[in-house]
């Protein structure tokens, strides 16, 4: 085991996949000089043909990635959630819809890596946590890693998956350190985290907290504090939202009888909304208290730190929600 920073885990995954398969290439803005860090040293190892700096043309190069994937390449596109709106037509009209629309003829092994920078005074245009919008659109697989090991293993799975995948990389944990197994210590020689397998990050008996992306870590902080008060919570990280491992959540709720969902997306039609709906439909008789959503307030992200900090889930909000379910 090695302590690895989240952004290094991204870099390792990309480099390993590019070494493994020459059809993997990466494109995005300012990636040759690794302005966000994740693409460091790729240019020197893989050359200009496979590490492409793009113009500011998201609709153009998001679509070019689709086209390249259709004819046998495995493109990785680096972008920010903020810029996805500009390339939305290609993500929705083409990437998401092509395979079904063409009766299964099209195969699109394309990965969009979308960083979510929020919580750092970036204001409304640069703080999007937009995965719920893409959950609503059939045809896209959606990945939300919460720690370096999952980040690496899920990104490697995304590159190998044969469907269009968006990996939402939580910028609030780019500097997070965590244990990432060394390849030589793994039986298969590399770290692969499969899609659709939630992880029970912490076991507990009184309340289940499902965390999305970095909110998993907020839930763990909350769990530590609640434990001091004698409240035992179970923390689940779904790791992928499409596919979503509902069984693990339903089984946990069956045990605890209570559910809190911590989601940095806006609360209306959030990932939390969907998870709440699943448990309400399929786990209702396990519930002993109303489900609690701790998601972002339904306002735009204000620039001033005085207001921005009020928007997102926090350990304190999660603790309060857990206590509401326990009526304490």
């Amino acid at each position: 085991m090695t302590q690895t920073v989240f952004i290094e885990a991204i870099n390792q995954a990309i480099a390993e996949e590019m070494r493994r398969d020459e059809n993997v290439f990466i494109m995005g803005e300012d990636i040759r000089r690794a302005v966000y860090g994740a693409t460091a040293n790729l240019l020197s190892e893989f050359g200009e043909k496979r590490v492409l700096d793009t113009p500011l043309s998201e609709n153009g190069f998001f679509g070019a990635a689709v086209g390249a994937s259709l004819v046998g390449m495995r493109p990785i596109v680096e972008t920010l959630t903020s810029f996805m709106w500009v390339g939305m037509d290609q993500l929705i009209s083409q990437a998401a819809k092509m395979r079904y629309m063409f009766g299964g003829q099209a195969t699109l092994p394309v990965v969009y890596r979308a960083t979510m920078f929020y919580g750092g005074g970036s204001a409304a245009h640069h703080s999007d946590r937009s995965y719920p919008m893409f959950m609503n659109m059939p045809g896209l697989k959606i990945v939300v890693p919460s720690n370096p090991a999952d980040m690496k293993g899920l990104l490697k799975s995304a590159v190998r998956d044969n469907d269009p995948t968006i990996v939402f990389e939580d910028g609030t944990i780019f500097g997070m350190r965590g244990e990432v197994p060394d390849n030589e210590d793994l039986p298969q020689g590399e770290l692969i985290v499969p899609f659709g397998e939630a992880k029970i990050v912490r076991e507990g008996t009184d309340c289940t907290i499902v965390g999305i992306a970095a909110s998993v870590n907020l839930a763990l902080t909350a769990a530590d504090q609640l434990a001091q008060e004698g409240i035992s919570v179970e923390v689940i990280d779904p790791r992928t939202l499409v596919p979503f491992d509902k069984q693990t959540v339903l089984e946990s709720v069956e045990k605890t009888g209570r559910l809190v969902i911590a989601d940095p997306a806006h609360k209306v039609c959030s990932a939390a909304s969907e998870i709440a709906s699943i448990v309400a439909e399929e786990g209702f008789w396990s519930l002993q208290a109303p489900i609690q959503k701790v998601a972002s307030e339904q306002v735009h992200i204000p620039y001033t730190p005085a207001l921005e900090k009020l928007v997102y889930p926090t350990p304190e909000k999660i603790i309060a929600a857990v206590k509401r379910t326990l009526d304490v």
Binding site: G63, G67, M73, R99, F102, G103, P138
Partner: protein, 329 residues
């Protein structure tokens, strides 16, 4: 003329195939045999046929909403195209795409987009793959005068030019985006003028002359395969019919004159090719008429094929979503 006789006759056959396919579509659509929009390509046959005649099966095309002609021009099957319009399991896309989304990946037809300009970046991506892999295939994107105003097209032309990608941008300028004249919406005199902004050749071609379209595309393909980058070809052409089948019943305002329609019909692309073939003694009138009759018969067989093909079973609703399947919510 230094174009092979077989190729000339193949181009004539494909133009007649498109014409007869579209005439049949208009007939059966009016009879209510299938629903939804369909956009006839009649009058524009020379653009797709001339362009695709310059391509190999290993080259790629991407089309738009008015796109029955593109797959036929690329050598696609009319029976599977017709069955798709009928929404049947034997259609190109098993009935899931319909008129605006024909595709045949076995011969490089990457599919058509009902969102205009949207398939152009996809074509650029196929060409990018050729560049990365060091292979010689090219990619051709069809779009109209209307879509020439889409940002997707401009981003695509810039990308293709900076990376010197083997792309042929083919603008089918049929004069109107639904009812709006291109003269009112395009800031330059010709769409092909836009090539200069992206440092690529722009060719203004008589889109009613299939030989001119073919020769222009041959030059563009040669340039593309040589690694010299993209070309923009504008084929000036005309849509004889309304924008979409059924629209004539609801449209309220006139936007073009009968005189204008008649003047374009006098330069019919099939007529122009047949006159050339006959005057240069490459083919006889009878041979041309036989090609027309044979394609009519094939379209009839295609229509029977479509009518006799079953609708998909309800279980097909959940098929073809994923290459690596996951549970449905």
């Amino acid at each position: 003329m230094d174009i092979d006789r077989d190729l000339l006759l193949l181009m004539l056959r494909r133009m007649w195939m498109i014409r007869n396919f579209e005439l049949k579509v208009m007939e059966v659509h009016a009879a209510g045999e299938f629903t939804g929009a369909a956009h006839p390509y009649i009058g524009e046959e020379a653009v797709a046929v001339g362009a695709c005649a310059a391509l190999e099966d290993t080259d790629y095309i991407a089309g738009n909403h008015r796109s029955h002609g593109h797959p036929i021009a690329k050598g696609g099957r009319v029976d599977k195209a017709m069955a798709e319009l009928y929404g049947r399991v034997d259609g190109y896309c098993k009935g899931k795409g319909g008129s605006m989304h024909l595709a045949d990946y076995s011969i490089g037809i990457l599919g058509e987009s009902g969102i205009l300009g949207s398939s152009v970046p996809v074509a650029v991506g196929a060409a990018l793959a050729a560049n990365i892999k060091g292979e010689k295939f090219v990619s051709l994107a069809f779009f109209g005068d209307g879509a020439s105003n889409q940002g997707a097209l401009h981003e695509s032309m810039n990308l293709a030019s900076i990376w010197k990608l083997p792309v042929i941008f083919v603008c089918e300028n049929n004069q109107y985006a639904v009812t709006t004249s291109y003269a009112d919406t395009v800031a330059v005199e010709h769409v092909s003028d836009r090539a200069s902004a992206y440092n690529m050749p722009g060719m203004l071609i008589d889109g009613q002359d299939v030989i001119a379209m073919y020769e222009a595309t041959v030059a563009a393909v040669k340039r593309a395969r040589a690694g010299e980058g993209p070309t923009l070809i504008e084929g000036l052409t005309y849509r004889y019919e309304e924008h979409s089948l059924g629209l004539g019943r609801v449209r309220r305002g006139e936007y073009r004159t009968q005189e204008e329609i008649d003047s374009w019909r006098k330069r019919d692309p099939i007529d122009i090719l047949e006159k050339t073939l006959i005057s240069q003694e490459i083919a006889t009138r009878d041979e041309c008429d036989a090609i027309n009759a044979e394609t009519q018969a094939e379209v009839e067989r295609a229509t029977d094929y479509a009518r006799n093909s079953p609708f998909p079973e309800p279980s097909a609703l959940f098929e073809d979503m994923w290459a690596d399947p996951i549970p449905f919510p």
